[in-house]
C-alpha cells in the first residue's frame, strides 16, 4: 500500500501536466499519455545509446520536452483546432495516434526496460521495505510540484499564465501574448512528463502503449483533484496510487485497473460540474 502511495506521487506528476494544461488552455489533452510514452522512450534511448542514468537524463530531457511541447501547441494543436473543443479533441487524438505508432514502428511492440544497479535496492522504513526508485520518485515528484508552485506564483511568466487562465480576453487586452502563454504552459506540461518518465523508467517497462495505462489514470486524478488544481493533482495522484494497489491486491492484477476506471466514471457522472468548475 505504501508502495502504491509512492507510485501515486508519480501519477500525480503525470496528472500535474494534464491539469495545468486544462486549467490554462481549458482543453483536454488526449495526447498526454502518448507524450509520456515518447518521454519514456527518450529516456530509454538516453540510457541505451548514451549510457545516461535515467535520473541524469532528466537534465537534458526537461528542456527538450519543454521545447517539444511548446512547438506542438504553438504550431500543431493551436492552428489546427481553431479554438473549437471538438477539434482539439480530434487533433490531440491524432497526435497520440501518430506518436504511439511511430514508437511502434521504430521500437516494435516488445516491452523494454533499463537495468540500473539500484533498481532492486530497498529502503528500510521501520518495519517496511520500500523500493529505492519509488522513494526517489516520490521525493522528486514533490520537489517538482514545489518548483511549479513557485514558478506559478512568484515569476512573471507564472503571473501571465494565471492571468490567461482566469481571463483570456482580459489578458490579451493588457498585452499578454496568449498563444505564447498557451504554448509555454503546454511546454511545462510536457516537461513534467519528461521528469515523470525518467522517474518511472528504473522500475517500469516501456512499450508503445504504456502511456495509455497512465492517461486514464491521469484523467481520473485530474477529475478527482479538481480540474486545474496543482495540489489537487498531487493529492489525487496519491489517492489513486493507493486505490490501484489496493484494488490490485483484492481483485488481482488483471482487474486492478478497474477500480480506477469506475472511480473515473462515477466522478464524471455524478460530480462533473463540481469537480470541473465550468461545464464544457
Amino acid at each position: 500500500m505504501l508502495n502504491g502511495l509512492l507510485t501515486g506521487a508519480i501519477y500525480g506528476l503525470v496528472a500535474l501536466g494534464l491539469t495545468l494544461v486544462y486549467g490554462v488552455l481549458h482543453i483536454i489533452n488526449f495526447a498526454h499519455g502518448a507524450l509520456l510514452t515518447l518521454a519514456m522512450y527518450a529516456a530509454f534511448v538516453a540510457w541505451k545509446v548514451f549510457g545516461l542514468d535515467p535520473y541524469v537524463a532528466i537534465l537534458p530531457l526537461v528542456p527538450l520536452f519543454y521545447l517539444l511541447g511548446y512547438g506542438v501547441q504553438r504550431y500543431v494543436i493551436g492552428p489546427a483546432s481553431r479554438g473549437e473543443d471538438s477539434n482539439i479533441l480530434l487533433v490531440t487524438l491524432g497526435l497520440s495516434i501518430v506518436i504511439e505508432n511511430m514508437m511502434l514502428a521504430i521500437f516494435r511492440s516488445d516491452t523494454l526496460s533499463v537495468q540500473v544497479p539500484y533498481a532492486m535496492e530497498v529502503v528500510e522504513l521501520g518495519p517496511m521495505l520500500l523500493g529505492f526508485p519509488r522513494v526517489v520518485g516520490f521525493g522528486v515528484a514533490f520537489v517538482v510540484a514545489l518548483v511549479l508552485f513557485v514558478l506559478l506564483t512568484m515569476t512573471d511568466t507564472g503571473r501571465a499564465i494565471r492571468a490567461v487562465a482566469k481571463e483570456r480576453t482580459g489578458a490579451a487586452l493588457v498585452g499578454i501574448n496568449v498563444n505564447h502563454v498557451y504554448a509555454v504552459t503546454f511546454g511545462i506540461g510536457a516537461a513534467c512528463l519528461a521528469v515523470a518518465a525518467c522517474l518511472l523508467l528504473p522500475f517500469f517497462y516501456v512499450s508503445p502503449r504504456v502511456g495509455n495505462a497512465f492517461v486514464l489514470v491521469a484523467f481520473t486524478i485530474v477529475v478527482l483533484g479538481g480540474m486545474g488544481s496543482v495540489p489537487g493533482a498531487l493529492l489525487g495522484g496519491l489517492f489513486i496510487g493507493v486505490v490501484e494497489s489496493l484494488s490490485g491486491l483484492y481483485f488481482g492484477d488483471s482487474l486492478g485497473q478497474i477500480g480506477i476506471f469506475l472511480i473515473f466514471i462515477l466522478v464524471l457522472l455524478f460530480r462533473p460540474t463540481g469537480l470541473f468548475g465550468a461545464k464544457a
Binding site: 480530434l90 487533433v91 491524432g94 501518430v98 505508432n101 511502434l104 514502428a105 466514471i265
Partner: protein
C-alpha cells in the same frame, strides 16, 4: 424518403456487388470484407457523432458487446448463429442506451462524453479479459463448421455480399434518418441544444435514440466480425483500435453525411494497404498516416477545400 434519395445508394450497391466477379483472390476479398466491417462500425459512429455531434471515443463497447454476445451464445448456449447475431445487435443497442442514459442525464458532453465512453470501453475490456465467460485472455473461438445454416460459408464472396448488404442497409437507415423528424431534431441538438429544447425537442430522448441506433449498427459490425474471423479476445473486441477506426473513417470521409463513413473507410484502408506495399509490414506506419490525416482534415475540413482552392488561386 423519396426514390431519388435512394438512387446513389443503389448505384453504390450495384457497383460494389460486382467486385467478387472481378476480384477472386482470397487476400483481396479478405481485405474487402474487413474494410466493409470497419465501414459498418463507422456508419454506427456517424449516427451519434456525425449527426448528433456527440463524439464517442468508446464505440468499442458496442462492437465488442455484440461480438461477444454472438460468440458466447453460439459457443456456450448453442444458440443459432443468426439468432445470436440479432441478439448481439440488440445487446449493443441496450448497452448504448444505458451508457447514454448515464452520461447524457448527467449532462456530459464534448470532451467529457468522449472520456466517459472511453472509460466504459476500457472497463468492458478489462472485464472481458478477466471473465471466464468470455474466455479471458485466451479469447473465445467459434468452432469451424462451414454450413450456410451455421452462418459460415465456404466462399469469401458470400461473406462479402452479406457485409455489403449490411453496409447498404445502414446507408438506407442513415438516409431515412436524415429525412425523418428524429434526424432533424438530432442535427438541431448538435447545432444548438438549448435552441432545440425551446422548439419542443426532447434532447435527452433524441440523444438516447441516436446512441441506441448508433450502437446497434456498430454492434452489427462486431457481430459480423465475430462470425467472419471466428475468434475474439478482449483486445480485439473492446480494443481502442475499433473505437478509433469507427471515428476516423467518418471524420475523414465526412461526418454527418450518408456516404462519409464508407468513403472514409475505403480511403483509410486503401491507404493502409498502399503503405504496406510501399514500406512492407512495419507495424504502426499506416496508423501514423491515419493520425496525420486526421490532424490535416481537422485543420482543412474537406467541405472547405473548394473555398481554400479559390483563396489560393486568388492569391496567385
Amino acid at each position: 424518403m423519396s426514390t431519388r434519395d435512394l438512387v446513389p445508394i443503389l448505384v453504390f450497391a450495384a457497383v460494389a456487388a460486382l467486385l467478387p466477379v472481378f476480384v477472386t483472390a482470397n487476400t483481396w476479398l479478405n481485405f474487402a470484407v474487413f474494410t466493409l466491417i470497419i465501414c459498418l462500425a463507422a456508419q454506427g459512429w456517424n449516427i451519434l457523432g456525425g449527426y448528433g455531434g456527440q463524439y464517442s471515443f468508446g464505440h468499442a463497447a458496442f462492437f465488442g458487446t455484440a461480438a461477444y454476445a454472438t460468440a458466447i451464445l453460439q459457443v456456450r448456449y448453442g444458440v443459432n448463429p443468426y439468432l445470436g447475431f440479432g441478439f448481439g445487435i440488440a445487446a449493443a443497442a441496450v448497452v448504448g442506451w444505458i451508457i447514454g442514459a448515464l452520461s447524457f442525464r448527467s449532462g456530459l458532453r464534448g470532451s467529457y462524453f468522449a472520456l466517459v465512453t472511453l472509460a466504459f470501453a476500457e472497463v468492458f475490456r478489462v472485464l472481458a479479459n478477466a471473465s471466464e465467460m468470455t474466455g479471458g485472455a485466451a479469447g473465445i473461438l467459434i468452432r469451424l463448421d462451414v454450413r450456410p445454416e451455421n452462418f459460415q460459408f465456404a466462399s469469401r464472396a458470400t461473406f462479402y455480399w452479406i457485409a455489403l448488404a449490411l453496409v447498404v442497409a445502414a446507408l438506407v437507415v442513415t438516409r431515412a434518418l436524415e429525412r425523418s423528424r428524429l434526424g432533424a431534431q438530432l442535427v438541431a441538438v448538435r447545432e444548438n441544444e438549448s435552441a432545440a429544447r425551446a422548439l419542443g425537442v426532447d434532447a435527452l430522448q433524441v440523444k438516447l435514440s441516436a446512441i441506441a441506433l448508433s450502437a446497434a449498427i456498430t454492434g452489427a459490425a462486431g457481430a459480423l466480425y465475430a462470425q467472419y474471423f471466428l475468434y475474439l479476445d478482449a483486445n480485439i473486441a473492446y480494443g481502442t483500435w475499433i473505437s478509433v477506426e469507427a471515428l476516423l473513417a467518418p471524420i475523414i470521409g465526412g461526418a454527418g453525411t450518408v456516404f462519409g463513413p464508407v468513403l472514409g473507410g475505403i480511403i483509410l484502408h486503401g491507404l493502409s494497404e498502399f503503405t504496406k506495399s510501399l514500406v512492407g509490414r512495419i507495424p504502426g506506419v499506416d496508423l501514423v498516416i491515419f493520425g496525420i490525416l486526421l490532424i490535416v482534415v481537422v485543420r482543412f475540413p474537406p467541405r472547405e477545400i473548394p473555398g481554400l482552392i479559390r483563396m489560393w488561386r486568388g492569391r496567385r
